[in-house]
Amino acid sequence: MNHAAQVIPQAADYIRLLPEIVLSIFGMVIMLLDPLMDERRSQRILGAVALAGSLAALAATLFQAQYPGLGFWNMIQVDAFSVFFHFLVAAVAAVVILTSYEYMEVQEIRAGEYYGLILFGAVGMSLMSSAVELVLIFIALEISSISTYVLAGFRRRAAISSEASVKYFLLGSFATAFFLYGVALMFGATGSTSIKDIGNVLRSGQIPALAYVGVALMFVGLGFKVAAAPFHIWTPDVYEGAPSPVVGFMSTAPKAAVFAVLLRLMFEANAPGRIWLIWVVAALSMTIGNLGALVQDNVKRLLAYSSIAHAGYLLIAFAALPNNGIPAAMFYTAAYAAMNVGAFAVVSHFASAGERYVTLEDYSGLGSRSPLLAAILTIFLLSLIGIPITGGFFAKFYVFSAALQANLVGLVIIGVINSAVAAYYYLRVIVVIYMREPREDVPVSPIPAGLGVALAISVVATIYLGVLPGRVLEYAGKTAAEWTR
């Protein structure tokens, strides 16, 4: 390992770690404040602190963007890529926190750790995107995972939530073990845990067989996290059981972060043998995800299967060439984050106390009872289908374009057919919302301020990415340029 003579981190290093530091501080403040505060008022204040924390992290990211480069003995790299993901994670965290305000009150969950865990989870996710050293990636991965394991079980009074948490924890640890073993093998194969060095070795022509196995194992671990088939098996149960805002968080931010890791691994480290592997995994994910969703009645499970399918679409970009595959993948994570976190925000609001109303039937006639909520949900659903004017359309479009330019016609055909088939189950929801008689026994409460802001941000992001995707894509393109130099 190559490191500088000094052993003490410099100011520059701290700047490169700034968002994580900010988030950690705020998280710790919350943990400290929580026992000191009166239970009834603690929710609001702690939530506000958490929100402030995520906004501060955003600001820190923007600040940090002016100081690109390596830090902490070449373990952290700040570049356009990491800034992109930092921004994404912080934004998603903010939206989830806003959604959680009302949710916590309705569900009568009184624990400040919730907000703390969100921020800690965000630390891990942000770190994953800027870490360029495998062990650090593992640490960040674990920070993010453990936070989400606990968050998943936060509805303590519902057995299904605890079940979700335990399942996630056990299977997640199992998968992370694979990853760690893969890291070890990689070290053995290339003599380094730094992504850059590994990349140099793997580009030099002579690829040791051990490297292949190392990549395979790491891929298993990471594939689990992004819910790619055949490692997707935990997703429906966990998404169904966990609290809805947490699902919104889990399905977007850590996924984005892990995809960032995968991007670094696949492209910057030039992992070998990846194209056909990804081809198969992508095709499987799309197919299994879409087929599984076709007959779902539970909205959360439906969205879980949908996220498996979307992981598949995203992975297509990984099989393409770097200069369009990377921006396409990044754009997809952003667009997907916007639409999914918004969808789950709506689900959180509608589910009511004890998350009673999560089946499709409960949504009947929402269009006439609460037109605004219905319209917002429809926008997200349309984005998930991939209808023009929404971010989801351009996301799929870029991914398919990238694949076609790499001559992966078969994969694109599979993707296209899957998109068409998937339209059915999203359409079912739209049909139920607008074309069925409303159910009077399901309460529809007005949208509170926090949720309103969260939804507004998601909608604006979705439509912005659908109408003016150019700038975001350009920014993402910078990354590709840097890596392929």
Binding site: L277, I288, L291
Partner: protein, 390 residues
């Protein structure tokens, strides 16, 4: 239209023959139907078809101007016949069945006299219009290079039948006792006007009748001038495609006035018309019980003619029913619903079943999940090892 496109027909003698045959048969066929009909307008309708057959016959023997001439005279007397029939029907309050008419000649004299003119004209009795045009056609049917005595014979027979059924109509409607309901005679049934009794139609209906009656009488007189008027249109084309001697014969024939054979045939056709008049007088004026007896004697044949040879029913069975049933059962239900739509619905069902299978992979059992992960991992590792070692 046939006359207008005569340039095409002139070059296709076989097509001309087809036209002539169809025209002749139509004339005969429709005339026979007209004999048995009881509705006054139906008689006139089948009469129209029959006269159109004559026009087609004329065109079929390349006597286009004769055909057009008959078209013109026919317009006069047939138009008059229909209008007059309407006047009759109006006067007796909406009744169209001739069996319920009779003895109207004293009650609606104007209608009677104009209709008489038309009836005599259509029968072909000189010197009214129909005589000239029908006679010209019959002569051309015999003498034209495309003609034949068969055409002429059937044409004359038809003329006899035409005369018969027209005078039958004349007698039934205007002569004898009034056979309608008594109220028609006295109180007046028609809802549209309250005044009673059988009455002549108002002037607005009678004036056209008179005009047409005059035309029916004098309309045939300028027949030579008519022929000369139209000959530039038809002549060159017609003679250009005929065999040379025939063309010469026509050219010669035009110099002559009516020769021997023509006068003879003219006489025969007039005789036929008069014979029809006589027969109608006999059956419908003198011995009115005879028609009934004849009808019964003829039995089935009479029924067939009365029902218009069941042509409509035949069409329904041959054409309408197969098309409608075939479309409904084979095309609509068979292909559209049971083949195409069913394929769609079945594939949708198929997708649902596959989806159910996928769904059941989620057993809820943690160890099976771990098993899946391990299996997937094994697959990935195996693949990568295989590539790496290659």
């Amino acid at each position: 239209m046939v006359a207008r496109s005569h340039v095409i027909f002139d070059r296709a003698p076989s097509a001309l023959m087809v036209v002539a045959i169809i025209g002749t048969l139509t004339a005969l066929f429709a005339a026979t139907i007209g004999i048995a009909q009881t509705d006054i307008k139906k008689v006139l309708a089948y009469s129209t078809i029959s006269q159109l057959g004559y026009m087609f016959l004329a065109c079929g023997v390349a006597a286009y101007s004769a055909g057009i001439f008959h078209l013109m005279t026919h317009a006069f007397f047939k138009g008059l016949l229909f209008l007059a029939a309407g006047s009759v029907i109006h006067s007796i309050g909406g009744e169209q069945d001739m069996r319920k008419m009779g003895g109207l000649r004293t009650k609606i004299p104007w209608t009677f006299w104009t209709m008489t003119a038309a009836t005599f004209a259509i029968a072909g009795i000189p010197p009214l219009a129909g005589f000239f045009s029908k006679d010209e056609i019959l002569w051309q049917a015999y003498s034209s290079p495309y003609g034949s005595w068969v055409y002429w014979l059937i044409g004359v027979t038809t003329a006899f039948i035409t005369s018969f059924y027209m005078f039958r109509l004349w007698f039934l409607t205007f002569f004898g006792e009034y056979r309608g309901e008594q109220e028609h005679a006295h109180a007046g049934v028609s809802a549209s006007h309250g005044h009673g009794g059988i009455h002549e139609s108002p002037k607005v209906m009678l004036v056209p009748l008179v005009i047409l009656a005059v035309l029916s009488v004098v309309g045939g007189w300028p027949h030579h001038r008519f022929e000369n008027f139209l000959s530039p249109v038809f002549h060159a084309g017609v003679t250009a495609y005929m065999p040379a001697e025939a063309a010469k014969a026509i050219a010669q024939g035009e110099q002559q006035t009516a020769g021997g054979p023509e006068t003879l045939l003219m006489g025969i056709s007039v005789a036929a018309a008069l014979a029809g008049l006589f027969l109608a007088w006999l059956l419908y004026h003198r011995r009115p019980q005879l028609p009934q007896e004849i009808a019964q004697a003829l039995g089935g044949f009479y029924q067939t003619v009365l029902n218009k040879y069941y042509v409509d029913e035949l069409y329904a069975v041959l054409f309408v029913k197969p098309v409608v049933d075939g479309s409904a059962k084979l095309l609509w239900h068979g292909i559209d619903q049971n083949l195409i739509d069913a394929t769609l619905d079945n594939s949708a069902d198929g997708a649902r079943e596959v989806s159910d299978t996928v769904r059941h992979m989620q057993s809820g059992n943690l160890r099976s999940y771990a098993g899946w992960v391990a299996a997937g991992a094994a697959g990935v590792i195996a693949y990568m090892v295989w590539i790496g070692v290659r």
